[in-house]
C-alpha cells in the first residue's frame, strides 16, 4: 500500500514538474500587459509568437521602415496610415512600383481579433504569414521584395539600431531573420487595439444616440453583421468557443444578370470555386469607419451616406437582385434626418486616441521617450 502511495507521489511530482515546464515555456511572455479597456476580451496569440514589449517596439520600427520595399519608397505604413485608422484613403492600394491593387486597403484596428485576414482568404489566419504577401507578392507587386529575402535580412543586419532591437526582442545573436521580422511585425499589429470611442465612453451625442437606436434596431439590421463591441461578425478572442468567420455578398454587382462580380474581385469564390461564394467578402469592423473612406472591398463607394443609400436600396443597381446576396441586405426606408443620425452614430465609433497614439506612430518622426 505504502509503495503504491510512493509511486503515485513520484508520478504526480513528475507530472507537476512536466506541467510547470510546459506551462512556463508556453507562457514565456504570459506577463505581457494588454491594459485593455474593461469588458474587452484578450486576443488569441499564437503560442509560437508570444507578445512582448520589445517585439512590439521592433515591429513598429519595421512597420515604418521603407527599406522593406524594393526601391525604398514604401513601408507597410504607406498604405496603412495611422491617421486613417491604418488605411490609405485610396480607392484601391498602389504598390511601390505603381501597380494598382484590386482591393481597398483594410484597417488594421483590432486585427488581432480577426479569425481570417484580408478581404476574402478563408485559410489565411496568421499575421506572420499574411504580411509576407504584401512583402513578397507579385500579383500585384506591393512592397516588391519577391526573391529578395536575403537582401531584407542584409539591410536589417547592416543597421546597428535594428540589430540591437532584434536582439532585445529575441535574445540571441542570430536574431535578425525573416521569421523574426514577421513575428515582430505581427506583434505590433496585434497591439493595434482600438476601443476608446465616444461609444465606448458612453458619451454619445443626442444625434448619435438616435443613430444607435437605428443601428441596433431590426428595421435596419446593421448590427446583424456588425455586432458590438467589435462591429463585425468575423471574430475570435480568448474565451470564445469557436471562431466566428463570416463572408457576405452585399449586392454590389450582378454581372450579366448571373450574380457574378468583376473577375479580379470575386471574393471567397476565388478560393472555394463554389458558386454561392461569389461576391462574398469578410465583414469589416465599423470602428473608425468615418476615417476609412472610401468603402467596400474595391473602394467603390466614396462616402458613408452613399453606403447607407446602397443598403437602404437593398444593394447597388443590378446588384440588388444578385442571387447570392445576404438576406440581411433587403433594404429599408430611412428619412434624411435618420440618415444623418445614423452617420452621427457611425462617426461616434472613431477612436481619436487610436489615430494619434504615439506608441503606434512613426518612430522616425516621433520617437518614444
Amino acid at each position: 500500500m505504502s509503495s503504491n502511495v510512493r509511486a503515485y507521489n513520484k508520478a504526480s511530482l513528475f507530472l507537476l514538474l512536466l506541467f510547470t515546464f510546459v506551462f512556463s515555456a508556453g507562457n514565456l511572455h504570459a506577463d505581457y500587459k494588454w491594459n485593455l479597456p474593461p469588458g474587452l476580451p484578450e486576443p488569441v496569440i499564437p503560442q509560437s509568437n508570444p507578445m512582448s514589449v520589445a517585439k512590439v517596439e521592433l515591429g513598429r520600427h519595421l512597420f515604418y521602415y521603407k527599406k522593406l520595399s524594393l526601391n525604398g519608397k514604401m513601408a507597410c505604413a504607406t498604405c496603412h496610415r495611422q491617421a486613417r485608422a491604418f488605411t490609405d484613403g485610396r480607392v484601391t492600394a498602389q504598390g511601390t512600383t505603381g501597380e494598382i491593387h484590386p482591393r481597398n486597403t483594410p484597417s488594421l484596428g483590432n486585427v488581432a481579433y480577426q479569425p481570417v485576414l484580408t478581404w476574402a482568404q478563408p485559410k489565411l489566419t496568421r499575421l506572420e504569414e499574411q504580411l509576407l504577401i504584401p512583402l513578397l507578392g507579385t500579383q500585384p507587386v506591393e512592397l516588391g521584395m519577391a526573391g529578395k529575402k536575403k537582401i531584407i535580412v542584409r539591410r536589417l543586419k547592416r543597421d546597428p539600431a535594428y540589430h540591437s532591437m532584434f536582439q532585445a526582442a529575441f535574445g540571441d545573436n542570430k536574431a535578425v531573420s525573416l521569421e523574426n521580422m514577421a513575428k515582430a511585425l505581427a506583434s505590433f499589429q496585434r497591439r493595434l487595439i482600438t476601443a476608446n470611442s465616444a461609444y465606448d465612453r458612453e458619451d454619445l451625442s443626442l444625434a448619435a444616440e438616435r443613430g444607435a437606436k437605428l443601428f441596433f434596431g431590426e428595421r435596419l439590421n446593421c448590427f446583424r453583421c456588425h455586432p458590438a463591441p467589435f462591429f463585425t461578425d468575423s471574430l475570435t478572442h480568448v474565451g470564445l468557443g469557436f471562431k466566428e468567420i463570416a463572408f457576405h455578398n452585399t449586392g454590389l454587382y450582378n454581372l450579366a444578370g448571373k450574380g457574378a462580380y468583376p473577375p479580379k474581385n470575386t471574393g471567397l469564390h476565388a478560393h472555394t470555386g463554389q458558386p454561392e461564394d461569389m461576391g462574398r467578402f469578410r465583414t469589416p469592423s465599423l470602428r473608425n469607419v468615418a476615417v476609412t473612406a472610401p468603402y467596400m472591398h474595391d473602394g467603390s463607394v466614396p462616402t458613408l451616406a452613399q453606403v447607407i443609400d446602397i443598403y437602404a436600396a437593398g444593394g447597388r443597381g443590378p446588384g440588388r437582385s444578385n442571387p447570392h446576396k445576404s438576406v440581411f441586405v433587403s433594404g429599408f426606408n430611412l428619412t434624411s434626418i435618420e440618415k444623418s443620425d445614423l452617420i452621427a452614430f457611425l462617426t461616434s465609433l472613431t477612436d481619436e486616441t487610436f489615430l494619434t497614439d504615439p506608441r503606434f506612430s512613426d518612430p522616425f518622426t516621433n520617437p518614444l521617450k
Binding site: S205, L206, A207, A208, A290, T303, L304, A305, S336, I337, K339, S340, I343, A344, L346, T347, S348, T350
Partner: protein, 349 residues
C-alpha cells in the same frame, strides 16, 4: 411651468430672418430667455460674458463659421460642457458628421420644423439637467469624502490617518523613546455623586479641552481619554529629542490648569519615557493605541503620586533633575515592578 422657461439659450445665426423665425418658435415653446448673436465672434464674446444652457449654432456664417465656433467652445474648459445644437442643411450629412465629431450634441435641419425643434431642445435640456445633477452628486460625494477624511484626522494622528487612507491599513511600529503622560482627577467618583451627568460631562469637556490645548502646545499627541483619565505621548508622531522633559513640563502645566478650570478639580500626573509599540487595533472602530512597559509604568506613576504634582521613577528623575524641582517620595511598591524609588516634580528650576 415648462422646463424650457428656465433654460437660457444663445442662438447664433447671420440671417436676421432666422432670428425672427427662431424667436417665434422658441416663444411658442416657452423658452423666454433667448439671446441672439449675428456671427461667431460675437457669440464667443457673449459666451465669455454670461452663462448659457444651450447654444444653437448655424454652420454657414461669414468670418467664423459654425465649425470654428464649435471648436473654440469645445476647446474652452469653461464652456466645453455647454451643449451645442448645430443648424444645418437637411441633406448635409457630411457637415453633420463633422459637427458630431467636433463635439456637437445634436443638429437641426433647415427649414425648421416646430415638432423636431421641440423634441431636440427638450432632449437637450433633459440631458443637461441629468448631467448637472450627476455633477452635483459627484460634488456632494467629494464633499462627504472630504468630511470623512477630516474626521479621520481628528480621530487619528495625521501621519497615521494618511497611511490608513493610502494603504487601507497601518503597520504597527516600535519606537525607541517616547514620553508617556497619564493624568487623572483626584476624587472623581466623589465629585460625580450628587451631580447630574450633564454637569459632569460639561466639566470634563472643559478640562480635557484645556488639556488638548496644552498637549498641542507641546507638540504632543493625545492618545485617548479613559473615564477621568487623559493619556498623551511626546515624540511618537512628531519628533521630540527630550520626550521626558516635554511630558514633565506638560504635566506641570496640566496640574496648574486644573484648579483654574474648576476649584473642585485636582489632578495627579504620572510620566515615563522609553520604548513602546504603537498601532491601530480594530477593523470597524479604529483606535490608535500604544502598548509596552513604558505605558504601564507611566500609568502606575499617576496612581502613586500626590495631587498637583508630576510623579516619576527615580531613574527618570535623574534625567531631568537639572531642570526641575522635586522631592523623593521614597520607595513604593509598584505592581509588577517590585519596590521602586519614586520622585515627584513640583516645578521647573
Amino acid at each position: 411651468m415648462p422646463e424650457g422657461e428656465q433654460s437660457s439659450l444663445l442662438v447664433v445665426d447671420d440671417e436676421p430672418f432666422n432670428h425672427t423665425l427662431i424667436k417665434r418658435l422658441l416663444d411658442a415653446e416657452g423658452y423666454a430667455d433667448v439671446s441672439f448673436a449675428d456671427n461667431g465672434r460675437q457669440a464667443l464674446d457673449m459666451l465669455q460674458e454670461s452663462n448659457f444652457d444651450i447654444v444653437l449654432l448655424d454652420i454657414e456664417m461669414p468670418e467664423l463659421n459654425g465649425f470654428e465656433v464649435l471648436e473654440s467652445i469645445k476647446a474652452d474648459l469653461n464652456h466645453r460642457h455647454v451643449p451645442v445644437i448645430m443648424i444645418s442643411g437637411v441633406e448635409d450629412t457630411e457637415s453633420i458628421a463633422k459637427c458630431i465629431e467636433l463635439g456637437a450634441e445634436d443638429y437641426l435641419a433647415k427649414p425648421f420644423n416646430a415638432t423636431i425643434l421641440r423634441a431636440r431642445l427638450g432632449a437637450c435640456v433633459e440631458k443637461k439637467r441629468l448631467r448637472d445633477q450627476e455633477k452635483s452628486h459627484l460634488e456632494q460625494i467629494r464633499t462627504e469624502k472630504k468630511k470623512a477624511d477630516e474626521l479621520l484626522t481628528v480621530i487619528l494622528p495625521s501621519s497615521i490617518a494618511s497611511e490608513l487612507k493610502a494603504t487601507g491599513k497601518v503597520q504597527p511600529r516600535g519606537y525607541d523613546k517616547v514620553g508617556m503622560l497619564f493624568c487623572d482627577i483626584v476624587g472623581f467618583t466623589n465629585y460625580c455623586s450628587g451631580r447630574s451627568a450633564e454637569e459632569v460631562v460639561t466639566g470634563l469637556q472643559t478640562l480635557f479641552t484645556k488639556f488638548e490645548e496644552i498637549t498641542t502646545k507641546y507638540n504632543m499627541e493625545k492618545i485617548k481619554t479613559i473615564g477621568d483619565e487623559f493619556m498623551a505621548s511626546a515624540g511618537l508622531t512628531n519628533p521630540d529629542y527630550e520626550p521626558l522633559l516635554t511630558v514633565v513640563k506638560c504635566g506641570l502645566e496640566m496640574a496648574a490648569a486644573a484648579p483654574e478650570v474648576s476649584a473642585d478639580w485636582k489632578v495627579r500626573v504620572g510620566v515615563h519615557a522609553g520604548p513602546l509599540v504603537a498601532g491601530i487595533v480594530g477593523d470597524q472602530k479604529y483606535q490608535f493605541d500604544v502598548w509596552g512597559d513604558t505605558v504601564n509604568v507611566a500609568a502606575r506613576m499617576a496612581g502613586a503620586g500626590n495631587p498637583g504634582a508630576v510623579t516619576m521613577t527615580h531613574d527618570s528623575w535623574l534625567e531631568i533633575e537639572s531642570e526641575c524641582q522635586g522631592k523623593m517620595l521614597g520607595k513604593m511598591e509598584i505592581k509588577g515592578k517590585g519596590e521602586i524609588d519614586v520622585v515627584e516634580c513640583t516645578g521647573l528650576q
